[in-house]
């Protein structure tokens, strides 16, 4: 018996900054705040002193959690400068999300004299911190940040640099190209206006100066086109850069020849303009989401260091140095970095990273704990069975899928076309040359050069960057973040969609209860309702929600035992609700969900199963997607919900249950062998392999600052229902690219026919080339925005 008691997530507004609060909103003074920064600023305004906030901060119990940072080797990835008096370090603080956060962090020097300055980077969610190590240690600093709500991300992966340099170089190249373009245009003006032949000295001077200006454009600004074309040629595949470079070189040498021998003014204005527009196109496509990581592997989930027991001491060691038979100490909320055997007493491990299943698993002494599990309970000692990289979880990463980069470049539409394009243009130029060789040999070289110049696929090269860049922005507005713009093209070809269940089409936050067992009398129902509504435990709340329509009664006696359950006495009868272990019931291990057993007197009546609720609107989405695509579900869970899932999914969908992470990967690979273009939508680490293998992997997350496995795009859970429209938009975008290709071919046709007839003049080229580029850019951007509006994106 399954019900769809989906709770609507009410979006609450932060009292201070008015941004929507996430589920982990902070309540203070009966008001809701989205982050501790906002709360602090509120306190500041209501009480007038920032000091209060810092004074009231409380250190939590894991005081030794950051101790490893005091070891210079382990803290090295975060430290950018170190001397005896000062340490400068860069920390990733994923919790930064509004201007209040910036305010609180940058005023941190008022809280501790050891902190000299904090400079935050909002976009990258990073802070550059200067401290005096003799006043505050690195571990103390991190504790302080943690205590005010900005827990530093100290995973191995966070210590890597970003690719910001590339963008910075691009802007320099644009600057140089713009400078040269502007000046060459200026020098060409007399030519446009028809300079007097008496001033031929000027013509020569302007021409030589233009050559001088175009050299930095060629050598520096257009550098990457030469590099790409060369590497394309060496690998034997034709990318769009090859015809571009061909055009650029012909332009340059033809112009130099014309100017030096005073034959004509050359085409250097077109050359620099062309490079400038191409770079702008690249800029438009270069937007990246710097605060998000699309490349996380298992290392991102692991801490940098663990405590190893050596003799009677505990030393922090790097995760990479763990070897078999080491004894490690794991503290509450820490992740077990390698498959290990529990030496301490029973405890519970939360495998939600690995399996997506939220409920912690009980582990007894001597049991094997898999890497990736998070400890929920007091500190434990474990003995390592396998090295970090060999564990059950991380062995997935040894799969071939992780070794090879996805072939994005070769697949792009522009590159497919450019191969034929190059061949066609070269043969046209050749045929034209042969024709003129026999009719008027003097014209031959001019015609060949003019053909190559005017055919330079500038407009063609701009179509995809602008269309895809636009798609990237449209998707970004709806919390659908693509790793890079070119991926938008790949979305259009998807014909098979594979869903994960837990955390993807179900929400990890909303629980849903159902009852199994003998029928319950009305009194029992009322007692259960009364007991559960007295408790704040998530399982109790789910049951209370399930019994929404029953009244509560006044219980004679009620007690809640943490981690076990609840007992109540009503009219002389005792009622128990709780874990099977506590009630002395043998646990049914086939159950994949959390179960709460109900005992009345001495009889066990039945149990409640608590599962994650399905996301709202999933049914409609799946029916909509099913119209054109084949859908599949692949889950690590058992097939208990098969019936309900069948009603959710359109007819003909396939279901796979009890699938291990490697099975998921293999299924995707099998589908791809059948020629399918597969999109995988998943969340946890268990989907990482499948996400990587698929043609387009989307990681679903309820909080984008959270961990998400390596993928092509990140989507927030509440925007899942828009996937059909995203796909539709991607398809339309592809048509826009085709449209602009047609447009640029039309220009080329005009240009080439002029060039072949020997009528192409430099001034005509100077007009036609920018006009074609600009009109293509306008067409793609306007059409893209119009389509987005039509699809209500």
């Amino acid at each position: 018996m399954i019900e769809t008691l989906n709770k609507v997530e009410v979006a609450t507004e932060c009292f201070h900054c008015h941004e929507p609060c996430r589920a982990d909103a902070i309540e203070f003074d009966d008001k809701k705040f989205c982050c501790s920064g906002c709360k602090a600023v509120y306190e500041l305004f209501s009480e007038g002193e920032l000091a209060e906030f810092y004074a009231n901060r409380s250190f939590d119990q894991h005081e030794e959690k950051y101790d490893f940072l005091n070891d210079p080797i382990l803290s090295a990835p975060f430290v950018t400068f170190r001397s005896d008096d000062y340490i400068r370090l860069k920390l990733k603080l994923p919790a930064i999300h509004c201007s209040s956060c910036v305010y609180v962090l940058e005023n941190l020097h008022k809280a501790d004299r050891g902190i000299k300055s904090v400079t935050t980077n909002f976009v990258k969610k990073e802070a550059d911190i200067l401290i005096q190590p003799n006043q505050i240690s690195l571990s103390k600093l991190c504790q302080l940040l943690d205590s005010i709500g900005y827990k530093p991300d100290l995973s191995l992966d966070a210590s890597k640099g970003t690719e910001n340099k590339k963008i910075s170089e691009l802007s320099l190249q644009i600057g140089v190209a713009a400078f040269c373009f502007g000046n060459i245009m200026l020098l060409s003006f007399p030519e446009y206006l028809g300079i007097d032949s008496a001033d031929s000295d000027f013509i020569k001077f302007f021409g030589l100066l233009s050559i001088a200006l175009s050299i930095p454009t060629m050598i520096y600004a257009a550098k990457s086109y030469f590099i790409n074309a060369f590497s394309g040629l060496r690998k034997g595949f034709f990318n769009i850069d090859i015809p571009i470079v061909l055009g650029i070189l012909t332009l340059f040498f033809r112009s130099t020849y014309e100017i030096v021998f005073s034959i004509g003014p050359g085409y250097l204005d077109s050359l620099s303009g062309l490079i400038f527009f191409l770079l702008i196109g690249r800029w438009f496509q270069s937007k990246t989401y710097q605060s998000m990581s699309f490349e996380r592997d298992y290392k991102s989930y692991f801490p940098l260091s663990v405590l190893k027991i050596v003799g009677d001491k505990e030393n922090p060691i790097s995760v990479n140095d763990i070897s078999v038979k080491d004894q490690l100490v794991i503290r509450n909320e820490e992740i077990v970095p390698a498959d290990a055997i529990l030496l301490s007493d029973a405890t519970s491990i939360d495998y939600s990273f690995v399996t997506g299943e939220g409920a912690p698993v009980e582990v007894k002494s001597g049991d094997l704990i898999y890497a990736g599990g998070r400890l929920k309970g007091n500190r434990i000692t474990v003995k390592v069975r396998k090295e970090c990289s060999q564990s059950y979880l991380t062995s997935l990463w040894n799969n071939q899928a992780f070794k090879e980069e996805k072939l994005t470049y070769a697949e792009e539409l522009t590159n497919k076309i450019s191969k034929h394009f190059t061949v066609v243009i070269l043969s046209i130029a050749l045929l034209g040359g042969i024709y003129w060789l026999f009719t008027n040999p003097d014209m031959m070289w001019q015609v060949v050069a003019a053909t190559l110049i005017i055919a330079c696929p500038c407009a063609l090269a701009l179509s995809a960057p602008f269309t895809n860049g636009n798609a990237l922005r449209v998707f970004g507005k709806h919390s659908f973040y693509l790793k890079k713009a070119a991926l938008a093209e790949r979305l259009a070809d998807i014909d098979t969609i594979v869903f994960d269940k837990t955390g993807t089409i179900t929400s990890l936050k909303n629980m849903m209860a159902s009852y199994n067992g003998a029928d319950l009398a009305e009194t029992s129902l009322q007692v259960i309702k009364s007991m559960t509504s007295n408790s704040t435990h998530p399982l109790s709340r789910a049951i209370s929600e399930y019994l929404n329509y029953h009244d509560t009664v006044v219980l004679d006696e009620f007690e809640e035992l943490a981690g076990k359950g609840m007992l109540a006495i009503y009219n002389g009868v005792s009622y128990y609700l709780g874990s099977p272990g506590w009630l002395g019931i043998k646990e049914d291990y086939t159950l994949n969900t959390s179960a709460v057993y109900f005992k009345k007197g001495d009889d066990v009546i039945g149990h409640f199963e608590i599962k994650h609720a399905y996301r709202k609107g999933v049914n409609k989405l799946l029916q909509e997607l099913g119209k054109g695509k084949s859908l599949q579900l692949i889950s690590g869970d058992n097939d208990k919900e098969m019936k309900y899932l069948e009603s959710l999914f359109p007819k003909g969908s396939k279901f796979y249950f009890n699938q291990k992470p490697a099975d998921k990967l293999n299924l995707i690979a099998e589908l791809q062998r059948q020629g399918k273009k597969v999109m995988m939508i998943g969340d946890g680490l268990n989907d990482a392999g499948a996400l990587k293998q698929s043609d387009f992997g989307i990681a679903i997350t309820d909080d984008i600052s959270n961990f998400s496995p390596a993928c092509d795009a990140i989507l927030t859970g509440n925007e899942l229902n828009n996937i059909d429209r995203f796909l539709e938009y991607a398809k339309k975008s592809k048509q826009v690219i085709f449209g602009s290709f047609t447009l640029s071919f039309a220009y080329n046709l005009i240009g080439i026919s002029l060039a072949l007839s020997g009528m192409l003049t430099p001034i005509f080229a100077a007009i036609l080339m920018p006009v074609s580029s600009i009109s293509v850019v306008l067409f793609t951007t306007l059409r893209g925005n119009y389509l987005a509006r039509k699809l209500m994106l």
């Binding site: 201007s99 910036v102 005023n107 140089v176």
Partner: protein, 52 residues
């Protein structure tokens, strides 16, 4: 009219100076983060700390 030679060379030098300034600004990291300073300027300066 030969003054044009000087004028043009001067104008290229002036423009080149601005290009140089742009390159310097870019290299010195002024464009690395364009979001945070826009927030930072809105914060009120508190009265200077008397302790230090």
């Amino acid at each position: 009219m030969s003054v044009i030679y000087i004028l043009i060379i001067l104008s290229v030098i002036v423009a080149g100076t601005f290009l140089g300034l742009f390159i310097w600004a870019n290299k010195s990291g002024q464009y690395d983060d364009t979001t945070t300073p826009s927030m930072r300027m809105l914060f009120d300066d508190k009265k200077p700390e008397s302790k230090d």
